[in-house]
Symmetry: C2
Subunit: 329 residues, 2 copies
DNA sequence: CTGAAAGCGCTTACAG
DNA sequence: CTGAAAGCGCTTACAG
């Protein structure tokens, strides 16, 4: 691979001068500049960002840790991050934690060993070891999706979004409302959304019957299974709030397979505004979380941190939007 | 940030010795090793992969160029690439070409300036400038999705997959078959799949009526528009082959909105086995391209190249699988 | 078992 | 306008 020394030799100057024209800084005679330019052309020389990074102590690379790569949410978030980063000359080094906290921590270290300038962590939990790893990080970390004390985060407004969902259901006259949630280890999805359900029910003075609250994992089949359980309750719900679209779609699948009509017999609503939600039949009412925007915002927060040098802690709350479609009437 | 020199000083040895214990190579006395280990623990020292890379002339980073980040195909491919790469100690530097050839070329250079060890390019065209950029690359490039002469590629068997689609349609007794394609700049999707349609029709001796062949771009609405055009033909087709699932779903939307029953009035089939295809109503017949596997294969091809040092040109043809569902009966 | 020295490819005061 | 020198954080012959 051709280096700055090769160019210097070819052009008959020192590498200092070559460096000057590459970065056009300082004075260089037209003659030298011309010779250097042609040398670069002829050899196809591309300066090593890597060597430059070592010298300048910044890589222009941001590490992004995702819970899972091939998920709609992730790809939208990354899309947002990438566009914001790119227009500022940064690139993304990608890592997947596969939903394991150990791997989140591992990647936090791995990325630092690569000397990324900063890290965006799309987190799924707030366990102590993870918190420690975040606080010990030597580069700014922006956490997306979980509120980490003492650290910058971009947050979805899970509680109020879920409250909005409940209000929409109540507005249609439903009282008997079932809930499909996930494990409480996930603060945002597992705890906040559930709390909103509980509060909304309490505020409306309706008691939650046995079997109405189910816990699932993040996939469609699990949504179906949970619904099956729920429909064995003595008092059957007339509406179901599933904490994710996929869970909601699983519910729809199970109900339709068992001859129930949606929304006539039972209404469904999810959260996420997935592509899927738009094209299932009936179309699924849901909440848009603006994932791409969240990605952009995370990147921007990180870049601010980088540019100001200060480690300012900022919390940013995302907006959300209820999308009323045909699964809830 | 703490460096190898800090550790050396703390442990009262030379940095050579520290390097030895980090990489456990060569002899080090137990005493020195112990002192070095505690120094590392106490400081939280993490060796700089970056500096190491400069010295070793390899970064253990692979560049991945995608036509678009937030697409189901992309995320599945990246998932495959990532898992294969990760288990070999490599990481992904991500880039998006946003479907523009200029940006494909730009990123090819940008990634090289970062001294990635190799590049996986998910390509959408085979224009000359791109070919040049690929051939001029100083690191191995594996191209996914387009057959590039003189370069390793992982290829989808577009022609035969599309032929299989046509056979499936014929098998149901259809003769009047419409086609929704894309621009020929895309060799794989635009040319190969169309050729299969043309050949299949010719081989069956059925003439293609005016209006049966439509060209769209890669989104759902465009599929609907194309279908609208098609349905204005004098002789209406009884089945439609759309070259992607999204196009097929657009067709379904338009047809259903206009009171037609699928598959009774008109059958539909796509390609891609998207998540969507499974959950629309009726479920969409399609072809699974095993994108994740394609990602794994691309990564493996690249790693082989890297390990053997030789620049062997290998073409790998992906398998495919027809999935018959309810949109075609 | 250990360390001094050279070098990976750059940039940047400093001196001229 | 230009270049020699130092240094970013590592590894690896080489010598002892």
């Amino acid at each position: 691979m051709v280096t700055i020394n090769d160019i210097a030799k070819r052009a008959g100057v020192s590498r200092t001068t070559v460096s000057r024209v590459i970065n056009n800084s300082g004075y260089v005679s037209e003659a030298s500049k011309r010779r250097i330019m042609t040398a670069i052309e002829e050899t196809g020389y591309v300066p090593s960002e890597q060597a430059k990074s070592l010298r300048l102590k910044r890589t222009k690379v941001i590490g992004v840790i995702l819970p899972k790569i091939s998920t709609e949410t992730s790809s939208r978030v990354v899309d947002g991050i990438n566009s914001e980063l790119n227009s500022n000359g940064y690139q993304i080094l990608l890592a997947s934690s596969d939903l394991s906290m150990e791997r989140e921590i591992e990647h936090l270290k791995l990325l630092q060993s690569r000397r990324v300038d900063g890290i965006i962590l799309v987190a799924t939990n707030r366990e102590q070891p993870l918190l420690n790893a975040i606080h010990q990080a030597e580069v700014p970390v922006v956490v997306l999706g979980q509120d980490i004390k003492g650290n910058s985060s971009v947050l979805y407004d899970d509680y109020h979004a879920a409250k909005a969902v409940m209000n929409a259901i109540f507005a249609k006259g439903h009282k008997k409302i079932g809930f499909i949630g996930v494990h409480e280890q996930d603060q945002a999805v597992g705890v906040e959304r559930k709390q909103a359900y509980l509060d909304a029910m309490a505020e409306s003075g309706v008691t939650i019957e046995e079997g109405w609250m189910q816990e699932a994992i993040f996939d469609i089949d699990s949504g179906a299974t949970a619904t099956k359980q729920m429909m064995q309750s003595l008092v059957k719900p007339t509406a179901i709030f599933a904490v994710t679209d996929r869970l909601a779609i699983g519910a729809m699948q199970y109900l339709q397979a068992n001859g129930l009509k949606i929304p006539e017999d039972i209404a469904i609503i999810g959260i996420g505004a997935s592509d899927l939600s738009k094209y299932v039949t009936p179309s699924l009412s849901t909440v848009d979380y603006f994932h791409e925007e969240a990605g952009i915002l995370s990147a921007r927060l990180l870049l601010n941190n980088l540019q100001n040098g200060e480690k300012k802690v900022e919390k940013s709350l995302m907006r959300y939007r209820l999308i009323e479609r045909n699964s809830l009437v």
